[in-house]
Symmetry: C2
Subunit: 200 residues, 2 copies
Amino acid sequence: MSKAIPEPVTRLIEAFSRLPGVGPKTASRLTYFLLRAPDQLTNELADALRELKANTRFCSVCHNITVEDPCGICADPERDHRVICVVEEPLDVLAIERTGSYGGVYHVLHGAISPVNGIGPDNLKIRELVARVEAGDVDEVIVATNPGLEGDATAMYIQRQLASRDVKLTRLARGLPVGSDIEYADSVTLMRALQGRSAL
Amino acid sequence: MSKAIPEPVTRLIEAFSRLPGVGPKTASRLTYFLLRAPDQLTNELADALRELKANTRFCSVCHNITVEDPCGICADPERDHRVICVVEEPLDVLAIERTGSYGGVYHVLHGAISPVNGIGPDNLKIRELVARVEAGDVDEVIVATNPGLEGDATAMYIQRQLASRDVKLTRLARGLPVGSDIEYADSVTLMRALQGRSAL
């Protein structure tokens, strides 16, 4: 076996395998693809990896990933800094920005409360959120954690932390996804859609 | 949008997206995973990528990937150099080595004949295989291309090229995979299994 796989190949397969969702088979496939692809492709990937950590940091205000601190959104005077949308991950910021219908700022928790995975409130940027609300002129906190057990637990914890503060707390609506089919909706989603029904 | 994604992040997402089977969503997930993972992980991946191309080459005999030329298998005096197993990809060498039941050497074609993808015999290491057979003391060529249209076409082409040479040509057996169920076997496989039936 060892004779058949050169060490640099094994090393890259192992490095790829450590990525989430990449098993040993996918890692081998990627490695052997790169072996025959132009050098430029491999070098660009290596450079991009090096620069990722060297040139990015977390925004000291919203904890999103950024090159400059504070980030473009927090530094933008045209955005409504009195509305904070709380999300679990930086990717959630992208998803909400893509709607083009949100003009406020963000707060990235970097996860959700998950006792199973040993993640408690202190592992998240919840204290920083409370400090932001206490310090500033905040009218509304939109809790946009994921609609699941962990996201709900996190939302409830944030609600308790901010209950005594004079700030409006909201949560994203639950219901049927646009373009979906009632026939195939799970019953919890359908129940939420019924509870949240609005006038035609 | 552009304000929400720092340039180093976009760059890595794009570099990941160029890998086979990695779409923009997976590329984002990998990138944001690395942003929060320890720096060591990112650096190891970057180093492994750099060294992959710098420290590997193709064996001048069998065209497998190797650090030294000729490769460990071709340089091994204990292997039977009169039997050559012809495979499409370096990964196929690994799969056959893993069986522990093959003691000959290999020849890696680096693909299969595929007119749809513009891959003809000249894009593969077929000429090099013919030269090896002509030059050396070769008793048997085992054609171990994949059991599909392209692998079959490649096997037939090799057969025609080597027909006039005094060498035994064989092909891997087709039949039911071990542990499979006749009920669920496709009819072509079952037909092959019937045709290739052996005495009990």
